[in-house]
Symmetry: C2
Subunit: 389 residues, 2 copies
Amino acid sequence: MTTASPKDFTFSENSLGLVTPQTLVVNEPLTLVCGATLPSYQLVYETYGTLNRDASNAVLICHALSGDHHAAGYHSTSDAAGWWDHYIGPNKAIDTNRFFVVGVNNIGSCRGSTGPASINPETNQAYGPDFPMVTCRDWVVTQAKLADTLGIDQWAAVVGGSLGGMQVQQWAIDLPDRLRHAVIIASAPKLSAQNIAFNEVARQAIMKDPDFHGGRFLAHNTLPKQGLMLARMLGHLTYLSDDLMGTKFGRELRTGSLKYNYEVEFQVESYLRYQGEKFATKMNFDANSYLLMTKALDYFDPAREHDDDLVAALSHIKAESLVVSFTSDWRFSPARSLEITRALVQAGKRVTYTEVESEHGHDAFLLPNSYYEQLFGAYMNRIAREFSA
Amino acid sequence: MTTASPKDFTFSENSLGLVTPQTLVVNEPLTLVCGATLPSYQLVYETYGTLNRDASNAVLICHALSGDHHAAGYHSTSDAAGWWDHYIGPNKAIDTNRFFVVGVNNIGSCRGSTGPASINPETNQAYGPDFPMVTCRDWVVTQAKLADTLGIDQWAAVVGGSLGGMQVQQWAIDLPDRLRHAVIIASAPKLSAQNIAFNEVARQAIMKDPDFHGGRFLAHNTLPKQGLMLARMLGHLTYLSDDLMGTKFGRELRTGSLKYNYEVEFQVESYLRYQGEKFATKMNFDANSYLLMTKALDYFDPAREHDDDLVAALSHIKAESLVVSFTSDWRFSPARSLEITRALVQAGKRVTYTEVESEHGHDAFLLPNSYYEQLFGAYMNRIAREFSA
């Protein structure tokens, strides 16, 4: 339980208040799907709420591309809340009065868990571009190691959106006895060619940046900022819906009249440049990690080893599933969530599907939305009744 | 009439065969919408077919972002055909046995008409980034100058797809007496915020390329190849439909098994890298021109000067219109063509609208498609009957 009360700051009644990350060091080698072996690794994680006596109330939160372990609460009174704070906390959809919630940063990422910026104990140098490819399957292995350490044999639920939802699917497939519910939000059973293409443009933007130095930018005391900026601008373009961009920015001019030059002319340009620059300069996201995360997205395809038969891939899962999509999400459209749902139904599994009306595109899974909140809360309540009964 | 017969090569029966570009030099200043003045300019153009006695059979073809005057026929027996050769030629949709067809390269572009790579007579240096912003309205002015020179008071039709379709709209609005038909294909009454956002990412990719040198790359003996490559990869992503990418590439691997590295893993990555590199290295497209063309797209918005009332903007046009969209085009979706159509109907104009079933996305307007060919041909035949009657 890492929740603490702030001294001279008042959090809202439903806030977790201050939370503190913890670290699990695993001093044993981990062989990854790609064939490479990490001699050891560490996981940074946070927990909210209290694990009950029979460890039946634990919920794992899996993060998306640029997410991390800090899903809820505050690290300080001056910081922003965790990325899913709206849905995790006392009396929230994932109610920390009832659930013991675990957020974990994945290996390969750059928020404290072992990744490209970490020191390779075999060379005493940062891994950089030598950090091996990681996949959802590898993340499930490491997350299961964390569960072992915390004394959690079986999660009440594993929950995630986008790339996080792919980890949820992988959990249900690989370790069917270790979760009772799979909550798969704004996700897909695999990327489409167009999804891969967007990732590839983002990767090329980073890798072709002269400051990338083949991934050894830190050794050159530089960062591939332009590449990261472009990658993030492109990301934002695919996270937002066309409609929302229209509502939010339309063709509004920054200065009221046309300037006929390459400075910011329309508000939407200003927004995208700001988001790209913020990500590249202030958010300190490691470029090698960004590349790895996009590749993990590309590689996820559980049906592949079953001759592209998703029903076969899902045939051994035991979890009951909640699948949620958002009407304006064109990155992982409702049709992609329905592919998962239909395959689960065909495989004879219990599954609830719902489509949430939203104009926020792919980002919707992170944002306040009353119907989403209500259905998410109702489903989690049902899970809570199972173990409190 | 620039059509000529090849000596030792046989073109198909319906081909224009060899065609030769011509140049119009306009030695008078041109003041542009942006306020800047070009002291003089030249237009490179091609003509196919023969202008009839009363000059009533002339058709102007307006090109899109990376297009040019070479719309049909061949420049040599070893070159590819012009970009719309499938639809322009003897007995084709735009039948050169009946129509006198004019293709023209726009100023600001880089295929022979005055643009950033041209010498500014006032400085004896290439314009480079100092070339002023050009708009569809400016292009119409220059194209009208060409019409004057060719003795064409009124086009039988002005025809164009995408950015070309915007020029068609501008013709109908600005010079209503000078065209009888407006053929507006795969276009929009203005870009959406999302469209502008895609252009902005492409521009940032070019302008942030260290080889761009603020647009003076030629003086540095270099080219912003990476930026152009990224811009074109992104372009291709928006020209193709998600479905087509799925059909064409799916998640097929380049080498049969996963490699877990940053080389090409999936076929779609290979395709995009190839298209991007080809554009940046072999097609010799000027980066400053690319920027100008994207800005011309952004600026097109005829309703703007009528308080965003498109009906008012179209109220003075006299041309009859054909508006064509393609089902899988998500860059300029059928909904955008319907905006034009509805405004024309509301303004009391004659307009024919049709939506062509195609999986080829925005690219569809350039590609063979039997229904498209038939309706396009039928409409052009109707125009031909008007002047031959």
